[in-house]
Amino acid sequence: MRLTDRGIYWVLATVLAAAGLIPEFRSLGNLANVATQSAALAVLALGQTFVILCGLIDLSVGQLTGLIVVLVCDVAAGRDAMTAPVLLLALGLGAGSGAITGLLNNRLRIHPLILTFGTMSVLQGIVFTYTDRSVGRAPAAIAWLADGRLLGLPVAPLLVLLLAAGAHVTLTRTRFGMHVHAVGGGRDNARRAGIDTDRVAATVFVISGVSASIGGLLVAGRLGVGYPHAGAGFELDAIVAVVLGGTSLAGGRGSVAGTVAAVLLLGLTNNVLNLLQISSFIQMLVKGLIVIGAILVNQPGGRRAFA
């Protein structure tokens, strides 16, 4: 009935093969573009993979990304000397915000969907109270990170590969990774097995926050300015990618490789629809149908709002 965990790879391969028929698609420059365009989403989706594997969800990452984009550019104001401070600022802000979300999650005991929906709204309020127009400029090093090349290869996709490998190893080879799977598979059982479930939950929210930091740096580098709307909608795209990649929203089951493949699939779809001159209105419809399809194909969960 539902696609196996490998389904996403077949879909990706099919779309790639079909796209190969379009001459403009095959150019190396275009492929590098697709990879670079998808990098920020990929990083956010990696973070979200941890959260969802744990049976939780984080809707606040989009607006957090926006806040980081705005602050990084505004504080740096294009000065290269500010590169290291804004890197620290971004990472600290992401980790701090994630830690607060984790703490609230453990303390308030309200469902993470509604909790992070609330923090999303608060973060959005903060971003737009801070500025309602583009501010500052990203330093050159961050622009290079997002859009530059290293030995002829685009940097951002390399960074994504590195992070994905790290995430994969963490989830499959470490004790913490095992705990994430265990908590996602059944929280009460995990606790009975002696796992500090609150600590695991807090940690995955911190990871999610840090992914927003890195994603925010990539977006800041790519846009070059602190655009306050920059993060809008990223949370949904990230969740869709994770779910498309075969991770169950109920937690406990899924993979990093699936997420990366799904992000590539989304990026390719956008690129191909653009190259084929499909109207953007239809593109939006297609995107909605992909979300619905992803849920239908992949989710065996309960009938409730969170499932």
């Binding site: 403009e24 698609f25 150019s27 420059g29 275009n30 573009n33 365009q37 920020a40 500025t131 309602d132 127009r133 583009s134 622009a143 859009d147 977006v219 790519r222 846009l223 070059g224 300015v225 655009y227 709307h229 920059a230 809008a232 909608g233 956008n270 690129n271 653009n274 190259l275 001159q277 109207s279 953007s280 209105f281 593109q283 939006m284």
Partner: protein, 347 residues
């Protein structure tokens, strides 16, 4: 007492808010607009593929502007194709769209930005590859990524609207301003023009400047609250007809339409209908044909002809008396009086 305190606070906020604005908005500097652009390096032989990187396509003005682009392109045999992308207000997507258009080997990129600064790096990539870029619409961009602009000067437009309003008010009274999205060129330039014009009219007082986001419903809601806050409002500065309707409606429902002078709006059909019905207000145009001018400007660049950095498409004042020549009563409100032939108007 309370209202006065509020007014003082509001004035202070406005003054503080205006400080950076006035430094930014010296208007569109004539020297930069008049600067000549060397276009020899963009010269190529036909046929041309024209790319349009739309920041958004979900408002009627840009839909009309795009139809003007398509219409003008169809009149030139040397243009083989028009490719359109829509970023849906997402600058990240507009960056990707521009890269995709470059991959598609277009020869010319017309665009209107979601955020003009955010897409500069992508536009610069196009220019480096020898693809000229033309900013099309309501703002003038002076930047290496933008080869030329076909634009409507919002400072001039704001000035025309303000002076007509002051004239209709006989030079005195309290006004409110309804502006588009805060921080956009339109909002910044229009407010700057209003303030500059006010310097010559000492008896005009600006009570409050609000941002209605080009949204009729929001403009109405904001005005409902303005009406509560201010017992007397003599005039409304609202250059966007779409919002003027919402403003006028709120005044009408409060029974205060008689006390207020509405400034000219633009040639938004719903506003033109209002003007035709009430015989007041008038319009200062925000011509959608700027799309056509952008195509012609692009073709001149591809021919290697030197062009000016900015091609301003002038706004015109339409008095309430002559509005009947422009209003289309059987068309929707969300429609623009234009010079498009019937078969090229949006379906």
């Amino acid at each position: 007492m309370k209202t006065r305190l509020t007014a003082i606070c509001a004035a202070l906020v406005l003054i503080v808010a205006a400080l950076p604005l006035t430094s930014l908005a010296q208007g569109v500097e004539a020297a930069r607009v008049q600067e000549t652009v060397a276009t020899a390096r963009f010269k190529k032989a036909a046929p041309y593929r024209v790319g349009v990187a739309a920041g958004y396509l979900s408002n009627s003005w840009v839909v009309f502007c795009l139809q003007h682009i398509r219409y003008e392109a169809a009149r030139h045999k040397e243009i083989s194709e028009v490719l359109v992308t829509d970023a849906g207000f997402n600058p990240g997507k507009q960056v990707a769209d521009i890269e995709d258009l470059i991959s598609k080997n277009v020869n010319l990129i017309l665009y209107w930005p979601v955020d003009e600064k955010a897409i500069q790096p992508a536009l610069e990539k196009a220019v480096v590859k020898g693809i000229p870029t033309v900013n099309t619409g309501g703002g003038f961009t002076y930047s290496p990524g933008t080869v030329a602009n076909a634009f409507i000067d919002q400072v001039v437009l704001g000035d025309m609207v303000a002076r007509q309003l002051f004239k209709d008010m006989r030079g005195k009274g309290k006004i409110v301003a309804m502006l588009p999205i805060a921080g956009t060129t339109a909002a910044v330039d229009q407010l700057a023009a209003l303030r500059t014009a006010m310097k010559e009219f000492s008896q005009i007082e600006l009570l409050s400047a609000e941002y209605g986001d080009w949204n009729r419903a929001k403009a109405k809601q904001i005005t409902e609250n303005l009406l509560q806050r201010h017992p007397r409002i003599d005039g409304v500065f609202s250059p966007a007809g779409q919002m003027s309707i919402g403003v006028a409606e709120a005044f009408e429902e409060a029974g205060r339409l008689k006390e207020v002078v509405m400034s000219p709006g633009d040639e938004y059909n719903g506003w033109l209908k209002w003007v035709a019905k009430h015989k007041r207000g008038g319009a200062v145009t925000f011509p959608t044909r700027v799309g056509q001018e952008a195509v012609r400007l692009g073709l001149r660049i591809l021919n290697g002809e030197p062009v000016k950095r900015g091609l301003a498409v002038p706004s015109e004042y339409i008095s309430p008396a002559s509005i009947t020549r422009y209003v289309e009563p059987t068309r929707p409100d969300d429609w623009w009086a234009s010079t498009l032939p019937e078969e090229w108007k949006p379906k």
